[in-house]
C-alpha cells in the first residue's frame, strides 16, 4: 500500500494513543486533513500547552499550572484533611462528585514488589513531611481496593496512626477491584462520604 509520507507519519503517531488502532488512526488523520487551518492550529496548540503548561503540584503532586495546584491554592478548602489517592486522574474523579472539600495527596502508584515499587518510589515521605508543615487532623485513604491498593492502604494506616492523626478510609461502596476512575459519580460520592475509621 502506498500512502503519502506525511499521512503515514500522522497515522503512526495517532496509533500510539491508547485504544487507537491503525484503522481509526487513518480515519482521524484524514479528518484532520479535511479540517480548516484554524481548527488544526487550535488543536496543535492545545496539545502542546497540555505538555508545556502543566506540571505536578510541589505540595500534593496533583496536576498544576503553577508551583501549587488549584486545590492547594484555594482559600475555600478544608485544610485540615488530606485525601490520599493513587493517581491525578483519581483527583479529577473525586472533584467531579462535588462531595469532598479537603486537600489531596497523589502517591503516584501503589506498592508492588513485583514491579519494584516500594515505599521509597511513592510520595510517602512527602506526605509525612506535610504533617509538620501543615495543620493536618485527618487523612482519608481513597486508594483503589485491589490487592496492591489494599496493602498500600494498610501500610499507610499503620505508618500514620502513631503520629496522632485520624486515619479513615473510603467506604467499600466501590466494587472490588473497581477503579475510582471508572466508577460513576454517585458511587464515588457515597464512598467519600461514608468514611470508615481505621
Amino acid at each position: 500500500m502506498q500512502i503519502a509520507q506525511p499521512l503515514q507519519v500522522a497515522v503512526e503517531e495517532l496509533s500510539k494513543l491508547p485504544g487507537i488502532g491503525k484503522k481509526t488512526a487513518l480515519r482521524l488523520a484524514l479528518f484532520i486533513l479535511k479540517s480548516n487551518k484554524e481548527s488544526v492550529d487550535q488543536f496543535i496548540k492545545s496539545l502542546s500547552e497540555l505538555k508545556s503548561k502543566l506540571r505536578l503540584c510541589s505540595r500534593c503532586f496533583n496536576l498544576a499550572e503553577d508551583e501549587l495546584c488549584q486545590v492547594c491554592m484555594s482559600q475555600k478548602r478544608d485544610k485540615s484533611i488530606i485525601c490520599v489517592v493513587e493517581e491525578a486522574s483519581d483527583v479529577i474523579a473525586i472533584e467531579r462528585t462535588n462531595e469532598y472539600n479537603g486537600l489531596y495527596h497523589v502517591l503516584g502508584g501503589v506498592l508492588s514488589p513485583l514491579s519494584g515499587i516500594g515505599p521509597e518510589s511513592l510520595k510517602i515521605k512527602e506526605l509525612i513531611n506535610r504533617f509538620n508543615s501543615e495543620n493536618i487532623k485527618e487523612v482519608l485513604l481513597a486508594i483503589n481496593p485491589d490487592t496492591e491498593g489494599e496493602t498500600t492502604t494498610l501500610y499507610l494506616a499503620k505508618l500514620i496512626k502513631p503520629l496522632g492523626i485520624r486515619v479513615t478510609r473510603i467506604a467499600r461502596g466501590l466494587p472490588i477491584g473497581g477503579d475510582l476512575e471508572f466508577a460513576d459519580e454517585a458511587t464515588i460520592g457515597r464512598a467519600v462520604n461514608g468514611r470508615i475509621e481505621f
Partner: protein, 370 residues
C-alpha cells in the same frame, strides 16, 4: 442451557469445523487423531476461556497458522453467543459474549457452567495436593464469583509477597519489613476467607459425593472428603493461627524467599469406609471415586447456580468396567446436555441409548451425522 452449535477455525487439528448439537446425549465418534478431544477442548474454552490439555494457548493453534477462533451458541431461557479468538504472533486472547468484549476472568467463569470428566482426573485422587486444590477451587469458583475473585487476589498477593521476601533476603531495611507486615495482613485476610469458604464447601459437598458414589456403586461403600488446613482450626481461630504461624516463620520465609504458610499448602483427603483412598484404594476404587467427584460437581453446580452444567465425558468409557459404565450411561440419559467421545460406538453396545441421541462421526476432517 445447552450448546447448540460450535464453529472452529484453525483450532488444533481442525482447519474449519461446524457442528450442530442437540439436547440430551451428543456422541462424538472418531479414531485416534480425528480431533474428538479438540471438540471437547473447544467447549471448555467457550466456558472458561482456557483449554484443559494445552499448557499455552499457542499450542491450540493449527500448524502453520497464527490465529484460532471458536464460536458457540448457547440456548437456554435466552440465546447467548460466545467467541474466543487467539492470535499467536501477538499472544493475545479475546473473549466475547454476545459480541461484547469481556476482559475479566471473573465475568466468564461459572457463567456457562461446565463439568469435564476425563482420564486426566486420575491426578485428583492420585496426584499432588496441588491437583486436588485445583479441582476444589474450580468447583467453588464456578459456583461463586466472589470466591474466584478472592482466589485471584490471593494468588497475586502470594506473588507480590514472595517477590518482597526475596528483596528482603538480599538487603533488609526497616521500610521493607513494615511493608512485609502489610502484605502479611492482606495475605491473612484473603487467605482466611479462602479457608473458611473451602470448609463450608466441603461440608455441603460431602453429601453430593455420597449420593454420586451410590449412583455408580450400589454396594455400601462410604466415601468422604476431608479438608486439611493450617492446624484445622475453625472460625476466628483460623485468622489467629494464620497470624501466629506467619509471625513464627517470618525469618524462615525470608531466608527461603518464599511463602510458607497459607491455603496454598492445604490438602484434601479422600476416604472410603474410613480408610485413606490414597494409601488403601484399589485402581477400581480410585476410578470410581474420580467419577463420583465429577458427578458430585455436576449436581452441586446444578443446585447452587440454578443452571445445569454441560457435562463433558472425554474418553471415559474405555477405562470403566461394563457394569459401572452402564450405570453412568443410564444416568446420563436424564441430563440436559452431555458430550461423550468414543472411538467406536460398536465397542460400547452396553451403553444406554436414546433414539434422539445426536451421533457425530469425525473422519479426516469430514463430519457425518448418524
Amino acid at each position: 442451557m445447552i450448546l447448540s452449535n460450535i464453529q472452529l477455525k484453525n483450532f488444533r487439528s481442525h482447519k474449519s469445523l461446524n457442528l450442530n448439537f442437540s439436547s440430551g446425549l451428543n456422541y462424538i465418534i472418531g479414531g485416534n487423531g480425528q480431533g474428538k478431544t479438540s471438540v471437547i477442548e473447544a467447549i471448555v474454552y467457550l466456558c472458561t476461556a482456557k483449554g484443559h490439555t494445552v499448557k499455552t494457548d499457542g499450542e491450540a493453534v493449527c500448524f502453520n497458522e497464527d490465529r484460532f477462533e471458536i464460536a458457540g451458541i448457547f440456548r437456554g431461557e435466552t440465546e447467548n453467543r460466545a467467541n474466543v479468538i487467539y492470535t499467536k504472533s501477538q499472544n493475545k486472547k479475546s473473549y466475547f459474549k454476545n459480541e461484547k468484549k469481556i476482559t475479566r476472568a471473573a465475568d466468564i467463569i461459572g457463567k456457562f457452567p461446565v463439568v469435564l470428566l476425563s482420564p486426566d482426573d486420575h491426578a485428583i485422587t492420585q496426584g499432588t495436593p496441588g491437583e486436588r486444590r485445583r479441582f476444589i477451587d474450580s468447583v467453588i469458583s464456578q459456583a461463586s464469583e466472589t470466591y474466584f475473585r478472592n482466589l485471584l487476589d490471593y494468588n497475586k498477593t502470594l506473588l507480590q509477597r514472595s517477590s518482597l521476601l526475596n528483596q528482603i533476603k538480599d538487603h533488609r531495611s526497616k521500610n521493607m519489613l513494615s511493608e512485609l507486615d502489610a502484605w502479611s495482613s492482606i495475605l491473612v485476610r484473603t487467605g482466611s476467607y479462602i479457608i473458611k469458604q473451602r470448609k463450608r464447601f466441603i461440608n455441603s459437598f460431602n453429601e453430593y459425593v455420597s449420593q454420586s458414589y451410590a449412583l455408580i456403586m450400589e454396594q455400601a461403600e462410604t466415601p468422604e472428603v476431608f479438608y486439611a488446613h493450617l492446624g484445622n482450626y475453625t472460625g476466628e481461630d483460623i485468622e489467629k493461627e494464620f497470624e501466629r504461624q506467619i509471625a513464627r516463620r517470618k525469618e524462615e520465609e525470608i531466608a527461603r524467599g518464599t511463602n510458607l504458610v497459607g491455603p496454598q499448602r492445604d490438602d484434601f483427603i479422600f476416604s472410603l469406609n474410613g480408610n485413606n483412598l490414597k494409601t488403601y484404594g484399589s485402581q477400581g476404587q480410585h476410578k470410581t471415586f474420580q467419577v463420583a467427584l465429577r458427578f458430585a460437581e455436576f449436581f452441586y453446580l446444578k443446585e447452587i447456580t440454578g443452571t445445569e452444567p454441560i457435562f463433558l465425558l472425554d474418553d471415559v468409557f474405555g477405562e470403566l468396567d461394563t457394569h459401572r459404565a452402564q450405570k453412568i450411561s443410564q444416568y446420563l440419559t436424564n441430563v440436559e446436555q452431555a458430550f461423550i467421545t468414543v472411538t467406536d460406538l460398536s465397542n460400547f453396545s452396553f451403553l444406554k441409548r436414546n433414539e434422539t441421541d445426536n451421533v457425530i462421526m469425525l473422519k479426516a476432517g469430514e463430519v457425518t451425522y448418524a
